[in-house]
């Protein structure tokens, strides 16, 4: 119960911070870190993937509705929430059944954590920019934006993630 409240709180806090603070940074004119996916990164791994997919969808659509964007966040969040377990087993070299309940903890090796984080952020940003531009001819622009924004997002997400880290129980 305690955990649920924590997640709900996290969910709304991240959206609010994203919309009212981070979307207005515009570093170098166009860079905004998308930190709200921290929710999907730090969310627990239980065996209920459907729940995660719904949460990802809700997260994306809330952001789209509040920030008046078209729908790119919804598709990007939905996709990474669906692919999240696959990223985890790929980054941690584990089987599905061996996934820890809480991946972001002191027990997980640093390199694995960074791998998982990078996959989540990069794929999310790539889908996001791909849908925003939706033009095969601007693929270089999409990749450039994806790359720099990924860098920026990871720089912002990493310290917060370290703060959130808990001991795996």
């Amino acid at each position: 119960m305690n955990k649920t409240i924590k997640y709900i709180f996290q969910f709304f806090l991240l959206i609010l911070i994203q919309v009212f603070v981070l979307n207005n940074i515009n570093l170098f004119g166009y860079l905004n870190p998308y930190v709200y996916i921290l929710f999907l990164i730090s969310y627990q791994f239980n065996n209920n993937l459907s729940e995660t997919i719904f949460l990802g969808f809700l997260l994306g659509i809330s952001l789209d509705l509040i920030s008046q964007s078209a729908g790119a966040h919804t598709i990007a969040c939905l996709t990474i929430s669906f692919l999240r377990p696959y990223f985890a087993i790929f980054a941690l070299r584990l089987k599905f059944s061996e996934l820890p309940k809480n991946l972001i903890s002191k027990d997980t090796r640093l390199l694995n954590k960074i791998g998982f984080l990078f996959l989540m952020v990069f794929i999310h940003h790539f889908i996001l920019f791909f849908i925003i531009f939706l033009d095969p001819r601007s693929i270089f622009l999409i990749l450039k934006n994806t790359f720099f924004t990924t860098l920026f997002s990871i720089i912002v997400i990493w310290p917060i993630l370290t703060l959130l880290e808990t001991k795996n129980d």
């Binding site: 459907s50 939905l78 669906f82």
Partner: protein, 268 residues
């Protein structure tokens, strides 16, 4: 039923993902004009190509019917071509052009013997009688020999005993075209008197001396000729325009005035 349910449960997450994805795309297309037009373009391209495939498939099964329609149309057009070719030579009466074409399919076509025959899929039921001319889209084929109710056989122009009345397009000097059994596109033109000038490449057309073919159908061109000093006639090798060995369809020519001509010939 149980199995379907099991499969559904197994891929539950994927199905949830896909349905939510569709909803998101719908949501996206509702909110952004740019994305909507992109999705519309995509769906237009998709439905366009699907319809193209469908159209092609239907077209394929339609081919027999289409072929039939084209053949009847060609039959009608062929008569105009014959009239036109006839008019090139002399101003003849278009309305009283005495020939009519009947399209037919070649069922059997030989060209390796010295006396070759064809079998066509039209018989006296279709108004075919012996001694009608048979032409292809670009040349002569033969003369009807015998008919049954549904089929007819024709003597190919590649027949040792047949002589065709032909003439030069340029000066109307006429002679006889015959086949000596060499290659199917080579014939011999005889009986051209040496007082007529001949040069290589001259076009040979059908002459109007027989009732089989209308005047003026292009037959072939002069390939080489020999002028023997002791004789008064040329030996001319003709190269045919059409390749009889590859014909699938033919037009049988009905001469409406043939009976009259025949009667006159018999009276002589």
């Amino acid at each position: 039923m149980q199995q379907i349910l099991n499969i559904l449960l197994r891929y539950k997450n994927f199905l949830i993902y896909i349905s939510l994805l569709f909803f998101s795309i719908f949501f996206l297309s509702k909110r952004s004009f740019f994305h909507r037009s992109f999705i519309n373009q995509l769906s237009l391209g998709l439905s366009g190509s699907i319809h193209l495939i469908k159209e092609r498939t239907i077209n394929y099964f339609d081919l027999i019917e289409k072929n039939k329609i084209l053949r009847t149309e060609n039959e009608k057009l062929k008569i105009y071509e014959l009239i036109y070719q006839n008019q090139l030579l002399e101003s003849s009466d278009t309305i009283n052009f005495p020939f009519k074409t009947i399209g037919a399919k070649i069922l059997k076509n030989s060209y390796t013997n010295t006396r070759n025959y064809l079998i066509l899929d039209k018989g006296f039921k279709d108004g075919i009688y012996s001694e009608m001319g048979v032409i292809s889209n670009d040349g002569l084929i033969g003369i009807i020999n015998e008919t049954t109710e549904n089929f007819s056989s024709a003597i190919s122009i590649l027949h040792k005993d047949i002589k065709l009345n032909v003439k030069f397009k340029k000066n109307l000097s006429f002679g006889s075209l015959l086949w000596e059994g060499e290659s199917p596109n080579k014939m011999r033109l005889v009986d051209i008197a040496t007082i007529n000038p001949v040069s290589i490449g001259d076009t040979i057309v059908t002459g109007g001396m027989s009732a089989y073919f209308p005047e003026g159908i292009p037959v072939g061109r002069v390939k080489s000729f020999i002028n023997k000093p002791s004789e008064n006639y040329y030996d001319i090798d003709i190269e045919l325009f059409s390749n009889i060995t590859q014909k699938k369809y033919a037009y049988i020519i009905e001469n409406k005035t043939r009976k009259e001509i025949k009667d006159l010939e018999n009276n002589e």
